[in-house]
């Protein structure tokens, strides 16, 4: 199989960190905060590496958009088994406003440039929860897009004779879908369990190449059409009230103007 897979990996604030809003309410605190690869992206990388181990795919290329620090995220993908990386340099204000639309334009351009047969992305990022990049990328390329999860259990992703075969668990049993390559696949939580990088692979990752590219080189304009007006903490949880009877409950709801 000569297929080439492009995997998008996003550097996000680590899931275990307690998020704090910046005092000027323009965003959240990122300085000095622990970052790691978006968990959905880890699953995407794992799926791509598994396809390569099954010899269904020849090369796995990890891509990330952002400042210098995203190279760490690309290296993690390399340590998991990706063959090479592409760092699309976006920094400063452009990075703060970088969103799914610009990223999908970049990925679409890269897919054409690298002649990718398959793009695997995480379903969504845990910082913005957009769940848009996969769909937008597919639309820009006019490729089919599928989430093997789609809210149910995915058993496998396979490549058979130039088609992508996806097996998903549905209520009535197992559903097998074949979609034409090239295609975009978005990975959800239950697709696989990402592997821990082995020490030898971490060493090998150091020698793998990460190419540097600018959005302008790909003909992509990263200016945002969205403007963040303000960012606030969610309202503090108030204590609830216990009521004795249904009658009381209805009364309280009426008081609060809910019914």
């Amino acid at each position: 199989m000569s297929a080439r897979v492009l995997v998008g990996v996003k550097r996000v604030i680590d899931y275990a960190v307690k998020i704090r809003v910046k005092p000027d309410r323009t965003g959240v605190v990122t300085d000095g905060v622990k970052h790691s690869m978006n968990p959905f992206c880890e699953i995407a990388v794992e799926e791509a590496v598994k396809l390569k181990e099954k010899k269904l795919v020849k090369e796995v290329v990890a891509v990330s958009c952002g400042p210098q620090q995203v190279q760490e995220t690309i290296r993690t993908a390399l340590a998991m088994g990706a063959d090479r990386g592409i760092h699309v340099e976006v920094s400063g204000k452009d990075y703060e406003t970088l969103g799914p639309l610009q990223v999908s334009k970049i990925l679409a351009a890269l897919a054409k440039k690298e002649q990718a047969d398959l793009i695997i992305l995480g379903k969504q990022a845990i910082d913005d929860d957009c769940n848009q990049t996969g769909q937008m990328t597919a639309a820009l390329l006019d490729w089919p897009q599928r989430s093997p999860e789609d809210g149910t259990f995915a058993s496998e992703v396979n490549i058979e004779a130039d088609k992508l075969k996806v097996v998903r668990e549905i209520d009535g049993g197992l559903e097998t879908i074949k979609i034409n390559l090239p295609a975009v696949v978005t990975a959800d939580l239950r697709l696989n369990t990402p592997r821990y990088a082995t020490l030898p692979n971490i060493m090998k990752a150091k020698k793998k190449k990460i190419a540097n590219v600018k959005p302008a080189d790909l003909g992509v304009d990263v200016s945002s059409r969205l403007e963040v007006l303000k960012v606030d903490e969610p309202p503090q949880r108030q204590a609830g009230v216990k009521v004795e009877t249904v009658h009381d409950l209805v009364g309280k709801l009426k008081e609060a103007g809910r019914i």
């Binding site: 760490e72 290296r75 993690t76 340590a79 821990y196 990088a197 082995t198 020490l199 030898p200 971490i202």
Partner: protein, 403 residues
């Protein structure tokens, strides 16, 4: 002119090397950072949640050891050609610290396999011995152990009374070894026995013995204060016969092999002590963030946390430096002894203070503080007691000042 240029270049390289070393102390190289993060992730997700149960059940974490073997952690320094990860000793120390932060028993199992079993075979074994005794022990499916101590002598390693007599084309071993870590779960051991009693410590030799093996039996598992998931017991040798080719190194080299092995092994233990201490600090600091007394978070009232963090960081830098010296093939005996002494004493101090920070909660099994306290005690004893470390350091200092 040429001589001056050469001298300047030499100085530049020396300074450059020194600066690189200093940079490594200030911030680890990217490779080591990635490796440390991977081990930390594994320890937090796979070891920390089960550590308390492993301790209660005295259960060897076979599945986790195999997973760690798959990651290359059971044979960090072993070259890739023999099945290892081919990394340096600094990487190994980082791995052991992070794993011990999750589970102290797992940390010592990894450390004993790497430093005390694979280490000497890598250094003193023949090519044939390396293939037979190293490669199968890199995957985590088999672990090894190191049998030096005896019921009659621990610190006084030169007084070994286990005997090895040559009979034809076999060595026959007789005697008892005590306090052997991993022995109930091991598939091979390095036994130190006397081949020439008259030569005293120069008459000790090292032998590779498979387990199980006729003539080798295990005593009952010790019921220890801590590190309960790793097995510790006596190894009893009664006319245990092994081929002549099972001698490791040359006849009479045993004491030297043991001492050099322990020099490195103590860095593994230093790393383990650091990991446990860090876990104890994590526990105490987290508690200090939540508990209030006298109208404020106790975190604000505790200088203890500062003392604990300082103790750990100082010992950690000593450990890293000793590991880097070893990697640069420079003498590191004094620094290794200092690292082990510093780390183990820091660990017992920190874990004790962690219990104090937690107060009553530190005394019960609901919180891990009591387990960390129990686990740290052994770090001051095995692979050279704190008293022996002081002896080693003192001897080295006196030698330095000798005219």
């Amino acid at each position: 002119m040429a001589a001056l240029f050469k001298a300047r270049r030499a100085l530049g390289m020396a300074v450059g090397h020194g600066v690189r070393c200093l940079n490594q102390l200030a911030e680890l190289p990217e490779l080591h950072q990635m490796m440390r993060q991977t081990c930390r992730d594994y320890a937090q997700k796979e070891l920390a949640p089960i550590a308390a149960q492993l301790d209660k059940d005295h259960k060897f974490p076979a599945k986790q050891i195999q997973e760690l073997g798959g990651m290359g952690v059971m044979a960090v320094e072993v070259p890739e050609s023999l099945g290892g990860a081919g990394m340096d000793y600094l990487a190994y120390c980082l791995a052991v610290e992070e794993l011990s932060r999750g589970c102290a028993s797992t940390g010592v199992i990894v450390s004993v396999n790497n430093s005390l079993y694979l280490g000497p075979i890598l250094k003193f074994g023949t090519e044939e011995q390396k293939k037979q005794w190293i490669t199968p022990f890199t995957t985590g499916k088999k672990v090894g152990c190191f049998a030096l101590s005896e019921p009659g002598n621990g610190s006084d390693a030169g007084a070994a009374s286990t005997l090895a007599q040559q009979e034809g084309n076999e060595w026959v071993l007789n005697g008892t070894k005590a306090w052997i870590t991993n022995c109930w779960d091991a598939s091979a051991t390095i036994i130190f026995a006397t081949t020439d009693k008259s030569l005293r410590h120069k008459g000790i030799s090292a032998f590779l013995v498979p387990m199980p093996h006729p003539g080798l039996s295990l005593g009952k598992k010790e019921d220890k204060l801590g590190i309960q998931a790793s097995s510790t017991a006596n190894i009893i040798l009664e006319d245990c016969r092994i081929p002549l080719s099972n001698m490791l190194g040359e006849r009479g080299m045993g004491f030297k092999i043991a001492m050099q092995t322990l020099d490195s092994g103590r860095l593994g233990i230093a790393a383990q002590a650091l990991g446990i201490a860090q876990a104890a600090l994590d526990c105490a600091a987290d508690y200090a963030h939540k508990r209030t007394a006298f109208g404020a978070l106790i975190g604000k009232l505790q200088f203890k946390l500062a003392d604990m963090a300082f103790a750990i960081e100082s010992a950690r830098l000593l450990t890293w430096r000793a590991a880097m010296l070893r990697d640069a093939k420079k003498p590191f005996t004094k620094e290794a002894a200092m690292a082990k002494l510093g780390a183990s004493e820091a660990a017992t101090f920190v874990s004790h203070q962690a219990i104090q920070v937690l107060g009553g909660m530190g005394y019960v099994t609901d919180m891990p503080a009591e387990r960390h306290y129990r686990d740290t005690c052994i770090t001051e004893i095995y692979e050279g007691t704190s008293e022996i470390q002081r002896l080693v350091i003192a001897n080295n200092i006196l030698k330095e000042y000798q005219q």
